[in-house]
Symmetry: C2
């Protein structure tokens, strides 16, 4: 059995640990210090519930445990579904000392975290991410939200969990497409802040695709370290934290265009990261060779390296204009000075942006 890897997201009084290892869903002693009162609500979805819900509930026999099983998918990440969580909490009379557990991928984590932020003006919650994407990205850093028909993650809160428990055995049941989508976020950390990790990924991508448990645990730990470092510096995204959104302004536009229906988040941002790299290259920053390395790594993961052909540059620009990074009308993008060095800037050539967008048409 693998050791339990532990690291800390350092946020003063809101600091919390991340545990990475095998069989952690059924580790009550690990959980107990982070449960506030006697009540627990496990929030999960139809895909995850048959696989892992009973394990988690069994481990919590000392508590009053309820669960809610939501439909699976980004299209359900909205205020209506959020309200179902509140309905359950109120019907079961959960009070201010209740603890919510998010058992699932990014959608479950984002909604459960936001429900915890709002229920009775804030209760405790624990992230138990079961997808690679959630383990390396969305469960860490306290961004919670639901979508609005006019934009992704437009309604939410910065609200930190009590701890993150990433059980790597859950990756064994993960759909292959989901695994690859998660690798997009892993590769992101190499691109924005960790040249050495990017090279390691180039050397070890086959091991990851074959789900080698040691390689996966290492990639998760290294990704979380990178994310925790950035989040500790800038919890509420006043500045540097925005680099974690490499590819996301393009990617969110793609997702909104598709009404969150077609591509997975990881797929949309893979295409988005390539577009950001291409614009960065046209700006004279990242080298052509490094753009090729980036495309190659995504291609090895069967991830898209361009936007859907049906999406016009006009549509892109409209959807990008409501991005949260638009400050008083000027679009800011995360671009690459080189592999391992991202910058947030509004100072790019609009014509070059259009050139990149036109390549997709």
């Amino acid at each position: 059995m693998e050791k339990i890897r532990e690291l800390t997201v350092d946020l003063g009084e809101r600091s919390y640990p991340i545990f990475i290892g095998e069989g952690l869903l059924q580790a009550p002693r690990l959980l107990e210090p982070f449960i506030h009162g006697q009540q627990v609500l496990v929030v999960t979805n139809e895909t995850i519930a048959p696989l892992y819900l009973h394990n988690v509930i069994e481990g919590l026999s000392a508590y009053q445990v309820e669960s809610i099983i939501l439909p699976d998918g980004e299209i359900y990440k909205n205020l209506d579904t959020l309200n179902k969580i509140f309905d359950t909490l109120l019907t079961k009379k959960h009070n201010r000392t209740t603890t919510l557990i998010a058992l699932g991928g990014g959608v479950i984590g984002d909604m459960t975290g936001f429900a915890a932020a709002c229920y009775q003006r804030g209760v405790h919650f624990i992230q138990m991410p079961t997808t690679l994407l959630a383990q390396v990205d969305s469960s860490v850093g306290g961004k919670t939200a639901v979508n609005h028909p006019m934009g992704k993650n437009m309604i939410g809160a910065f609200y930190q969990p009590q701890c993150v428990i990433a059980d790597t055995t859950t990756l064994r049941t993960l759909d292959d497409r989901q695994l690859r989508a998660g690798l997009a976020e892993v590769i992101k950390y190499g691109l924005i802040a960790d040249t050495e990790f990017f090279s390691w990924l180039e050397d070890n991508i086959q091991l990851l695709l074959e789900r080698d448990s040691t390689a996966l645990a290492y990639a998760i730990e290294r990704s979380c370290e990178n994310k925790a470092r950035v989040v500790s510096k800038d919890e509420r995204e006043g500045g540097i934290r925005a680099i974690l959104n490499l590819g996301h302004t393009f990617g969110h536009a793609i997702e909104t265009f598709q009404s969150y229906g077609d591509w997975l988040h990881g797929e949309a941002i893979a295409a988005g990261m390539v577009m950001a790299a291409e614009l960065s290259h046209l700006m004279g920053w990242v080298s052509e060779e490094d753009v090729c390395r980036t495309k190659k790594l995504f291609t090895l993961c069967d991830l898209p390296i361009a936007a859907p052909k049906t999406m016009s540059s006009e549509k892109f620009l409209t959807l990008m204009s409501v991005d949260k990074k638009v400050l008083d009308g000027s679009l800011r993008l995360v671009l690459l000075k080189s592999i391992g060095c991202a910058v947030v800037t509004a100072d790019f050539d609009q014509n070059l942006l259009v050139k990149v967008l036109l390549r997709s048409e």
Copy 2:
């Protein structure tokens, strides 16, 4: 013209000023330091809009200003109405530097504050309370929320405004019943923490009912001072802040019973405060004379001093059991040791509580 009274809610980096005075809705220089970017959304309701909206908008001619006019009433304080605010913000492409202004009573303030807390994970907002109740209570302290059919203020956030601007001229157009309901919260501060102010209120209640502007400004200032002192000690209601809820556990049960339809909030908590005083007396704490003084002051304001006759004690106990102050199953109440000294306690005699509830039947 009256002077502008200014006081501060002291919360470290989240500290903010409260301005109290005449004609402040049209004081752009007072506002400007608290507006974040170039965009402003004024949120108001059908009652207030014809009276004051144009004044506020005129004062903001230097900005891109939009407004949204919501239906008036506590029954609209829900997720659906909240979503209308998000619709407007997104349709008008408001970004993360937008500033929301809550122009109205407690319902508008609570919803606008919560919308500001959630929109793009948090934007600035300013409270411009136009009712006495909002000026002395709900606009100060950062409690924001919407109701759920199963309970009042169940979905919300602690989120502080940039400033509070209480224009006392708005009280001239305030409906008489609303003024009296606001006085219930003013009297509350005397009861929980300020014996001297309670005596002042006994001496000056007629002046307040006649809307004497100096008396009103003094009562608002003194109420805000009391509230600010308590909030500064305990922003997130871990302890002492709960005393601000004197009468509210009873009062919220009454409001939920009536589906927020019949009595005003101030009326429900007036009855609730009398019930709390009666229970406190049965516990051997507050004297019979002080219960009589309390009832007399409310009666002079034409406020109810008992719950609706149709509300059974069983119904009361059921509705009180979902109160936010229920900690792991035990109901906590705010009771009075004496006038000017409130305590939060779960240590009361349940039989005496039932005795008080039965009096209403």
